[in-house]
Subunit: 342 residues, 2 copies
Amino acid sequence: MAIKNTLFLQALKGETVERPPVWMMRQAGRYLPEFMELKKKYDFFTRCQTPELASEITVQPIRRFGMDAAILFSDILVIPQAMAIEVEMKPNFGPYLPNPIRSQKDLDRVIVPDVHESLGYVLDAIKMTKVKLQDEVPLIGFAGSPWTILCYCVQGQGSKTFDKAKEFCFTQPLVAHGLLQKITDTTIAYLKAKVAAGVNAVQVFDSWGGMLSPEDYNEFSWPYIQQIVDALKNEAPVIVFGKGCWFALKTMSQSGAAALGVDWTCSAQNARYLSGGNITLQGNFDPTRLFSPPAEIKKMVTKMIRDFGKDRYIVNLGHGILPTVPVENAKAFIDAVKSYSE
Amino acid sequence: MAIKNTLFLQALKGETVERPPVWMMRQAGRYLPEFMELKKKYDFFTRCQTPELASEITVQPIRRFGMDAAILFSDILVIPQAMAIEVEMKPNFGPYLPNPIRSQKDLDRVIVPDVHESLGYVLDAIKMTKVKLQDEVPLIGFAGSPWTILCYCVQGQGSKTFDKAKEFCFTQPLVAHGLLQKITDTTIAYLKAKVAAGVNAVQVFDSWGGMLSPEDYNEFSWPYIQQIVDALKNEAPVIVFGKGCWFALKTMSQSGAAALGVDWTCSAQNARYLSGGNITLQGNFDPTRLFSPPAEIKKMVTKMIRDFGKDRYIVNLGHGILPTVPVENAKAFIDAVKSYSE
């Protein structure tokens, strides 16, 4: 059946729209009281791995705010987990990988799994979400970029600098490329399975690409994202979001991706210039700017749409929404887009 | 007396040099065994506040590697400390400010101190360092940017997002500007006193400027750095380093600063283009690239000098050196510059 609200898919095709579509990275999450209710009862991986819960969490923000796209509740670290790398989610700490990959021997025990087997729960969650959404809005599936996944696999936890991950790449480049290729192969199979299960678009999150120099980015991050875009672009529109990756926007714009995410340090003007002016852009409201009073948020969102232009543009944050943002402020953000007129 | 090695000061003036000068941010620090010896015996603020120790630590890397400039061992957080904001340095945690500034009432207890009184130990350390350096190389003094100092004063500790600091600015902008102005006034008096005590150049570190959107940067960070440059530029050359602040390079280049620091995500070509092509640039080797084998480091440094050009260029890292870098790798970095010829 056709999706009723086509704004998001039209923007991805570069079509003229009445107003730009809007969704928010991490829109299903901790700032929502209805999410916190479920969080009290079920731990992180239970929420990810139980299709009833993941699909419920996915549609919660759509019910409350009516965004123009849903994004499946999941985590980028389900990929290393499926690759036989142990991943824990520690409260008040974040991801913890007790056996990080630091050598060829470590890499040898990493598998490229059958995603239908090890990640079947994600595919079930997609099917269940599609039923709940009743084709009202499109559903986005996502994965981390291979470089970003490597960061966690090697560092073993979050980090301000991912120094151990970078040291690994710079001292053992062949092992690093071996790991990146295994992650890429898994990710391609995973995203293809997601599309087959019903997602209408996919987004690749290169959260830590901006920690690399342009040269190192071109060695350790970009080629693997390009492989993913090549493999997916004929099956679904691909959005590439690289936090801090302003320097790669030109390369990204020539990749076959349908849209590029940008963060708030890259102005609309710079983003349009650096990406060549023709590709759909997505972003880039500073998530901490959602702490501003709602009236101010509405003004800033309207200005942001004027700066990017209403076409070839998807309104979003420049990174995930923060858990401490008041619900009424998130609502002001969404409402400002929905009431936008030229 | 005149400084014998003039490379650094020549580069700041834009003069033609045989090879570019080199120093490393945090060159006096934890990667050096002789520093670790002192660290075992004296805690962080003892090292900062004891002129004998601070001056000894400052000259340690010069003795070992012969950089073209020394930078006084100190910390950007001596400023809030002098402003009556309590600062602790917790081992394996970093800075901790038990009474962060979150309201007008908190701001009211913040003072603009007499820097000769409260920071006299820094001035004494400068005088002692000048004696030890015997005019072999110039000495750099530094301060954090007011925005970066505010980040710590409000957040109360380091952070990946400085969300509380940003929330404070966006919900209480008047109080934020009041704090920023007090920090600026203190910093100007502090840097002027440093110049009077003998430093040959000053650097302002805007370590967290890159967390702001260009518009917020122009509201909460840049105007205060400009005040500092205006107040100092006729007394000593000013270097402005904003990590992640590629978007502000044009503004910075027109500020009266003698040189601009850039990080490794901004290529030499982009940095020259964005800064207008005439101002001296400083940077931008990725500190984690010092984990590469020494032979590779030398190749990369040579390429970096070719990319920036030998004139109007100061070789440096793109951020502080990491504590885990092998000493021989730091040496390879310095040696590559000192043996550079066209």
